[in-house]
Symmetry: C2
Subunit: 439 residues, 2 copies
């Protein structure tokens, strides 16, 4: 049965511009993203095996989704008439189908719109692969040999810090104990923290109420958005610290609003609330800037970033420059599972823990797989590691993330957990869907 | 008359996907770009003043142009019904119309497709502005006060190396002598070098012939593409060195094909041909990698990059890390004239000479303005500075670059020198234009 499905051929694809009007309630609002409409450039690959479909997406914020869909169109067409078996036998080559087009490369390379599109397409191939072998993506990877794992990765431009041989060696170290970590995860789940309470657009009362609710759910780590108004940041930090006590962990997130010196000055006034880290203190492109900020705040407050880091090459340098303490991989910003595996390996080499970014459309559904892969195959550690839990839009997902006392239960359904209900796809397609017709 | 045109209002816009089938002759071929079809995402702003149009473009390589056009659509629509006067009074704010949309920002920020689109749109506004005041763009900028010059720049994320106040001071130093440099340029022209001979797809005989022709035209600096095959690089470098003698200057360009250690190893075998610099030795995203390569080859061979550097923030770090000896600004990769001005100022602070990238559709037409601005307003120096001259496609441009004995004559026609003939626009529009109908 598995063999038969792997022998399927991709016959066609469908691209959808999906938009949820979340800006109406300021869910997801922060100092940079004042009114995001959580959205997705969504792609479905259809095959000649009845019912076997690969679903993939990249998270977007409303306007601009059509641009990413236009880029997906340029990539998805390359996969029609390809056999799944041929694609998954060499995922490195499959990744290069997207990144290696010498004409398309000019509009990247490997960054921004074309790379977000690559993420959606590659993720859809993983979803297809995992469904064909009837496993969730994390289990598909956990069952790989080190050689198979490494074959998924394009090492171009990162061999100065990690070669395929070194990667295989790293994976071999953890191979014998993979099974016990897998069992532990299935039993206990993976720890998480919540961002749902700290959005900038919420009132003080709403923040206090949401923090209390989250505490009742078992959360011990909480994230606050900062950077728009210092007085308000201080007031809100007081409220949160009051609610979570000394034992609660507070993280802060500036969403890139500051210049380098401004970040240092602003954070010095917030250090008294003992933030674990400041996330995205400045431009995601500023590797040396992050290193400067980290040095200035060390050891009182750590630095985290990742959701806007364009590819493995910039992550490589963040590690080389000792610029970050936490690596916030994103499941779609880079070239899907393939490139995330490269980043997880490099993070492990530099002993930087993985805390994925998940504030977005179905991101937590995907990154749960990635944190499980990190724990089971690569780092073997839960130290300073958590998933980000954001409580939005899960109702549109066929296999929403499962939370038990703030721990995420590993998904067991085959695939990458992002498949949307058909009705949601139809209703939220922009601009024709039902939801966009109401005034 | 000037006042009246500046009071015009933008009424509509037209976007064209223009493609030249240059891959048929391997013009522009290099180790990374094997078969580029020199193209452009082209935008025209129309106004309520008869005949006053702003033309802007960003260079692309064929496939992917439609994606950039889709992004231009998202930006150009923001300019309809805006008065030109209002737009040019505060070009920093005008730039932020493109970069500050909080939803569109997600698909960048300030990089890749959305930033290429910003380049096209901002360049079109400069073309419009310059035509309204009846000056070429370089003269429009040369006539600005330091304060007006600085008002064009978004300093976000670069204030740790350059503040507006420092920029004004830098410009004041050169203000008194601007007029004499302007006169010198109008009399002598700006030095240039040629890339037209060194494309990778050309035969040895063709290279030899083109080098001889270029020497006859007065060129003393020549560029060779490298990185595909070391033996062939050595053979061709011998031919070129033979033709140009010891006094000729040879530059090499790898177009990003190497990893960091590979770049160092490969170049060590080419040092005997005394290259002035190696251009794009590795990924444009690898700031620290460029620094490592530069250190390893110093002082025998310098390092240059820029055509793929995504924005001012990455240029800032290339300067901070001492990663490059030559700054190859591109007129379209970043947010048009505005952001280039920021980069020119930073380069001057770090004493890195400007050698613009011009291998592409009408790029030399634009960058001649930028090098003139660098010389007249900012650096006041021609030391180690040249324009890149590539002899393609000028016949489609109404105001093609003028060369006299390898020196570029400053353009005198109002605007940014990129306006295409209407017939060329129609014929080369993809996929409907006449040229794309032939088989």
């Amino acid at each position: 049965m598995v063999k038969q499905l792997l022998e399927s051929t991709i016959t066609s694809y469908e691209i959808r511009d999906i938009r949820f009007p979340t800006s109406q309630h300021l869910d997801g609002s922060d100092a940079m993203n004042k009114d995001p409409d959580y959205s997705a450039a969504y792609v479905i690959f259809y095959t000649d095996s009845k019912g076997l479909e690969g679903h993939g997406l990249t998270f977007t914020c409303g306007r601009g989704t059509e641009v990413v869909c236009s880029a997906i169109e340029q990539l998805a067409c390359k996969f029609v008439n390809k056999s799944l078996n041929e694609l998954v036998k060499d995922m490195r080559a499959t990744h290069q189908i997207c990144t290696g087009d010498s004409q398309l490369r000019w509009i990247g390379p490997e960054k921004g719109v074309i790379h977000l599109a690559t993420g959606a397409v590659i993720n859809a191939i993983w979803d297809l692969w995992a469904k064909a072998v009837n496993k969730p993506v994390w289990k598909l990877v956990a069952d790989m040999t080190p050689e198979e794992f490494v074959q998924c990765i394009d090492f171009r431009y990162i061999t100065d810090v990690l070669t395929p041989e070194q990667a295989i060696e790293m994976l071999r170290e953890k191979e014998a104990t993979k099974v016990q970590r897998e069992e532990e995860m299935l039993k206990d789940g993976y720890p998480s923290y919540t961002t749902s309470a700290g959005w900038l657009g919420y009132s003080d009362d709403k923040v206090r109420r949401l923090i209390r609710e989250a505490k009742e759910q078992g959360f011990t780590h909480f994230k606050q958005k900062v950077g728009s108004n210092k007085e308000s940041d201080i007031r809100r930090a007081s409220i949160i610290r009051e609610e979570i006590g000394d034992e609660g962990v507070l993280m802060m997130d500036a969403n890139q609003v500051w210049d380098v010196t401004e970040a240092i000055d602003w954070m010095k006034d917030l250090l008294k609330f003992k933030p674990l880290f400041i996330e995205e203190p400045t431009s995601p492109d500023d590797i040396l800037g992050h290193a400067t900020i980290r040095k200035a705040l060390y050891p009182q407050c750590a630095v985290a970033t990742g959701e806007h880091i364009q590819n493995r090459i910039v992550f490589k340098q963040l590690f080389q420059a000792n610029a970050i303490d936490y690596c916030q991989i994103d499941s779609c910003r880079v070239a899907g599972v393939n490139e995330v595996l490269a980043i997880i390996l490099m993070a492990n080499k530099f002993k930087v823990p993985i805390i994925p970014h998940a504030g977005g459309t179905f991101l937590v559904e995907m990154v749960q797989h990635l944190s499980l892969i990190d724990y089971i195959c690569v780092s073997g550690s839960l130290d300073r590691r958590m998933l980000e839990y954001v409580d939005h839009l899960h109702e549109h997902c066929k296999t929403p993330v499962q939370l038990k006392n703030s721990k995420v239960t590993p998904p067991l359904v085959a695939g990458y957990s992002v498949e949307m209900y058909r009705q949601s796809i139809e209703d939220y397609t922009f601009p024709t869907g039902k939801i966009h017709q109401k005034k």
